[in-house]
C-alpha cells in the first residue's frame, strides 16, 4: 500500500491543473463550482490563477448523496452558494480527488436545480481510480491507484498550504 511519502505534491498539482485549463476556459464567461471542502480550496486557487471574472461557487452535496438511506444525513452539511446564473453558463466543477464519481453525479444533480447550464466540465487534482459511474474528468494533471481501504484527503494548513494525506478506513 502507498504511504504518505509517496503522495503527489498538492501545490504542484494545483499549478499544473491551472496551466492545463488556461486557454480552455473563458475568463469572462467560465464559472467554477468547488465541492466542499477540498474542492472549494482548489477552486479558490484556480479562480485566482486563471483570473476569472465570475465569482466562484461552492456546493455541498449532502442533500443529494445516494448513500443517505444507508448512512443518514451527513453531519456538518454546509450551505451551497451559487453566486451566478446557472442558466446557459459554462461551469467547471472542481474537486480534489476523483474516485467513484458518485459525488460528481450528486453535484451535477444539485446544479440542475439552479438552472440549465450550457456545459459542465470537471477539474480534479488527481484521479485515484475506482470509478462506479461513467464519469471522466475534463482536466486532471495526475492519476494514481489506491486500494479501497485507503482514503486520499486534501488538507489545508494554517498558512493556506495544501497537501494530501492518506487515511486508512
Amino acid at each position: 500500500m502507498p504511504t504518505n511519502k509517496q503522495l503527489p505534491d498538492a501545490e504542484a498539482l494545483c499549478a499544473a491543473l491551472a496551466e492545463s485549463m488556461r486557454g480552455r476556459v473563458d475568463p469572462a464567461a467560465t464559472a467554477l463550482v468547488g465541492i466542499h471542502t477540498g474542492g472549494v480550496w482548489v477552486a479558490e486557487r484556480l479562480h485566482a490563477a486563471l483570473g476569472l471574472k465570475i465569482p466562484h461557487g461552492s456546493i455541498d452535496v449532502s442533500f443529494y448523496r445516494d448513500d443517505y438511506h444507508q448512512r443518514g444525513l451527513h453531519a456538518n452539511a454546509k450551505t451551497s452558494q451559487i453566486p451566478f446564473d446557472v442558466d446557459g453558463a459554462h461551469i467547471v466543477i472542481v474537486d480534489d480527488v476523483l474516485y467513484t464519481g458518485r459525488t460528481i453525479r450528486a453535484a451535477m444533480n444539485e446544479l440542475f436545480d439552479y438552472g440549465r447550464p450550457a456545459r459542465i466540465d470537471l477539474a480534479v487534482l488527481t484521479d485515484r481510480g475506482g470509478r462506479e459511474l461513467p464519469i471522466a474528468p475534463s482536466f486532471c494533471p495526475h492519476s494514481m491507484s489506491l486500494p479501497t481501504a485507503q482514503m486520499l484527503a486534501l488538507e489545508r494548513d494554517v498558512d493556506g498550504g495544501l497537501s494530501f494525506r492518506l487515511i486508512d478506513k
Binding site: F63, R71, G72, K78, Q81, Y114
Partner: protein, 325 residues
C-alpha cells in the same frame, strides 16, 4: 421497563441519534446544536429555482392533526415537500376519531399503508410518545414520530425554530437575557422554549406573567419569575411573546383581554425597557391588541416573519435527520 426497553431517552436510538422528536426536555446540547447547524444549509434551498432536495424521495409523511392548526400543518407540509416526500394530511377530528376509532388503531392503519413518518398534533399531552412507544412495541420503529404540539406538554420544532432565530440574530446563547411573556400555564411552546434555552446555556431566562397564568413551581425549570412586565423586561436581549390562548381559557383566569393588554401587552413604551437592539418574537397566530401592540408587531425589532421562514428549514432538518437514522 417499557416498550423502549432500558433506553435512557426514547427519542434516541442505540447510537445516540435522533429517532423521534417528541420533546426538547432531556435532549443533549450537542443534538440541539446539530439540528440548528443542519437547518442552516436548508434555508438556502428555498432560494433556488427548484426549491427541493431529493432526500425523502419516495417516503410517505403523514400529518396527523387531531387538533386544528393551519400554520404548523402547512409548514410541516412545505418542509416535507421540499424534501421530496409524499405528504398526506389527515385532520382527524373531522374523520375517524369522530367515528370512535382509537389513536393507536388510527396509527396502526396508517402504518399498514407503509407510512415512514408521523407528524402528530394532539390536544392530549403524551400522545406522540404513546404512538412512538406503540411502534417500538410492535416492531415498527423504522417509522419516525415528530411531535407537532401535544397538549400543554411540548412543541419541540417551535422551540427549535425559536432557537435558530435567536442564534441568527444574537449569535451566542451564553451571553443573553431572555424573557418569555404571557400565558405560560397553557403553553407547550413556553415549555419547549425554556428547556431549549437552559440546555443551550442561556444564563438568564425570565418568565413574565400574572400568577394565574403561571404553572406552580415553574421556577424549578431554571427561570426567574416576574409578575410585573416592566420589571421583567429591563435589559433583556430577546422578548418571546406567547399567544393568549383564549380557546384554552377555563374559568375566570383574567378579568378581560383589555385589562390583560394594559398589564402584559407588549407596547413600544414597554419594549423600550429592553435593550435597544432587543428582538421581539411571537410563535403566531398573534392577537393584536391583546398580547402585542401592532406598532411592535410591525416594528423594526420584530422578527416574527423570519421565524416562520426559519421554521421550514428547521423542520426540514429534523425530518431529514430522523429519516436518515
Amino acid at each position: 421497563m417499557n416498550a423502549f426497553g432500558t433506553q435512557q431517552n426514547p427519542q434516541l436510538n442505540g447510537h445516540g441519534e435522533l429517532q423521534h422528536l417528541l420533546t426538547i426536555e432531556g435532549l443533549p446540547r450537542e443534538v440541539l446544536m446539530r439540528i440548528l447547524d443542519t437547518a442552516a444549509p436548508f434555508t438556502e434551498v428555498a432560494e433556488r429555482e427548484v426549491k427541493k432536495v431529493p432526500l425523502l424521495r419516495g417516503k410517505s409523511v403523514f400529518n396527523l392533526f387531531f387538533e386544528n392548526s393551519t400554520r404548523t400543518r402547512t409548514t410541516f407540509e412545505i418542509a416535507a415537500k421540499r424534501l421530496s416526500a409524499d405528504v398526506i394530511n389527515l385532520n382527524i377530528n373531522t374523520s375517524s376519531a369522530s367515528k370512535g376509532e382509537t389513536l393507536l388503531d388510527t396509527t396502526d392503519n396508517l402504518a399498514a399503508m407503509q407510512a415512514d413518518m408521523f407528524v402528530v398534533r394532539h390536544a392530549s399531552s403524551g400522545a406522540p410518545y404513546l404512538i412512538a412507544q406503540h411502534l417500538a412495541a410492535t416492531g415498527r420503529d423504522h417509522i419516525h414520530v415528530v411531535n407537532a404540539g401535544d397538549g400543554r406538554h411540548a412543541h419541540p420544532t417551535q422551540g427549535l425554530l425559536d432557537m435558530y432565530t435567536i442564534r441568527h440574530y444574537k449569535t451566542d446563547f451564553t451571553q443573553l437575557t431572555i424573557a418569555i411573556v404571557g400565558d405560560v400555564l397553557h403553553s407547550r411552546v413556553a415549555r419547549s422554549q425554556i428547556h431549549a434555552l437552559t440546555t443551550l446555556g442561556v444564563p438568564e431566562v425570565r418568565v413574565i406573567a400574572p400568577k394565574t397564568l403561571l404553572p406552580t413551581g415553574v421556577e424549578r425549570l431554571g427561570v426567574r419569575v416576574f409578575n410585573d412586565m416592566r420589571e421583567g423586561l429591563r435589559g433583556v436581549d430577546v422578548v418571546m411573546m406567547l399567544r393568549l390562548q383564549n380557546e384554552r381559557m377555563q374559568g375566570a383566569l383574567l378579568p378581560s383581554t383589555q385589562e390583560y393588554f394594559k398589564s402584559y401587552g407588549l407596547t413600544p413604551e414597554k419594549l423600550a425597557l429592553a435593550k435597544p437592539d432587543a428582538i421581539v418574537m411571537h410563535p403566531g397566530p398573534m392577537n393584536r391588541g391583546v398580547e402585542i401592540d401592532s406598532a411592535v408587531a410591525d416594528g423594526g425589532q420584530a422578527v416574527i416573519l423570519p421565524q416562520v421562514t426559519f421554521g421550514i428549514a428547521v423542520r426540514m432538518a429534523v425530518m431529514a435527520m430522523l429519516a436518515g437514522n
